[in-house]
């Protein structure tokens, strides 16, 4: 079993500290738009949903990458920056829209869990983000995510 970043949308306050922490760690600047975790807001429900790469076990992005830049690892979808040609096929393949593009480097960017010690989790003051063992790490991510979002929206 491997660890994954799990978001609890009932605890998220939309403070966006995760976006700050991620962008600083990965780009060296406070640039939330370049963060690899993004908080989506449902104004009508007063809910906020932090979304980042689910590290799918059977990842659509890995399957389509024509450059060998995305590799299926154990509990992690690995990205090899040097191999990326910036074609964005992964962005079209990912249903969650969690792969972003680095306009300077002309390559994509995605969560790599900060090599197993995610900054976003460290800086979440509300316990809305956890990096923990999960049986879901090897399971299809969409169903669980969809259910939890729906429940949070209801409650």
């Amino acid at each position: 079993m491997s660890r994954m970043i799990v978001a609890d949308m009932t605890k998220c306050t939309n403070c966006r500290m995760c976006e700050m922490a991620c962008s600083l760690a990965t780009t060296g600047a406070f640039a939330p738009t370049r963060s690899r975790i993004r908080v989506h807001v449902f104004a009508e429900h007063f809910k906020h949903v932090p979304v980042t790469c689910f590290q799918c076990a059977d990842a659509p992005c890995v399957k389509v990458c024509p450059a060998g830049a995305l590799l299926q690892g154990e509990g992690l979808v690995r990205f090899v920056k040097e191999a990326c040609i910036g074609c964005r096929m992964c962005m079209l393949a990912c249903p969650f829209g969690v792969i972003s593009f680095e306009s300077e480097a002309r390559v994509i960017a995605k969560c790599d869990t900060c090599s197993g010690d995610p900054e976003c989790v460290r800086f979440c003051a509300y316990g809305a983000l956890e990096f923990r063992e999960s049986e879901l790490a090897a399971a299809p991510k969409g169903r669980d995510f969809a259910r939890r979002v729906a429940e949070a929206a209801k409650g």
Binding site: P66, I85, F101, A139, P140
Partner: protein
Amino acid sequence: MSQRRIVIVGNSAASLAALESIRRLDGKCPVTLVSDEPIPAYSRVLLPYLLSGERHDLSLRSPDYYHRMGARMLLGRRAVRIEADAVVLDDGTTLPLDRLLVATGSHAAIPDIEGISTPGVFPLKNMADALRIRGHLKGARHAVILGGGLICLLVVRAFLKLDLAVSIVVSSDRLLSRMLDAEGSALVQQRLAEAGVRVLTHADATRIVARNGRVRSVMTAAGDELPADIVILAKGIRSNIELARAGGLATGRGILVDPYMRTSRPGVFAAGDCAEAPDMLVRGKKTISATWFEAVAQGETAGANMLDLARPSLGSLKMNVMEALGIAVAAIGMTEAPDAEARVLVRSRDGVYRKLVISHDRLVGAVLVGDVSEAGPIATLIRRGLRLSELKRFDPSRPIRYAELAVQWGSSVGDSATALVRWDRPRPDSATC
């Protein structure tokens, strides 16, 4: 049931996806891959990067891949005949089988132009083509590309890196005419003009002029003479269907398949550029997608169904994405309103263009230029075919994000939401073989 013997003819996107799909479900059944090329699987998408010298190793998988996958690999052999329960290779070998996947791909369309066989005129479809082009590039200054599709734009990028002066001859009214609408295409064309590329639309090459046995220029119907040390043929593809035809499979322009990727002959499947498969959005229509995406999706579907898992595809969804000289471009599904009922939403500002096509309360198409960050969620929404009026406060003028769609799916579709991360191929969690 005793183990099925599987033979896959082909060694690119569809074949590898099929092999991997098979191995996820059945670790043991004997699989043989046959490829007429003498090298392990490589990425055709990367060929232009070989021309520009940016990439040297185009391998799609690691060297021990076939061994790890438990697949026998026969390289440099051509399948010539399909028989009952066997396929025959050009060296006379007969491979007995229970399931056959024909993934023979496609070849470049060769226009009927005077001088087309002049040295210096090349398609760019496989490694052999790329190596020949590279050998011809030394000292070249002027290039002409016939055709204005995806391959053309990737070649333009490579040639500009090599400081070649590039002209493009397109018979239609615009670049990327099969992928984009007119507005999206105009943004790309403008970018090419800024980069100094000459684009001739509504133009046809009529003659390739040679000097000393090498190409020297291209003449157009309008009388233009374009200097050319090298000419690239990028006027689309044709499915490789000779093997299928000889085997008595039903063919149109491609090998006709059903949603399970089954051909007209029991036990024989087809996937990728050679297959003509049901379209997702137009009922009753069959289409040759010829995209990397669809090849992977079809290969995966074929693999599962070769093991009798009965996993139909929802149909081919035409979609593609690319970077045209720094401009991201994506097109998904229908790029124009299919009828008078359909609604089209357009936003265009500062070089960013977004168009959504909505028909009968469903999203059926999108064009994105300059920013393709919504592409994945949009493709997912089109594939799922959700009724937009049932999505709570869905506002198509705002960026489409998965989390918002999930609110709806999570409460209404229950278990089938699993399919969201599995392309469009619903699959029971318990599926094993």
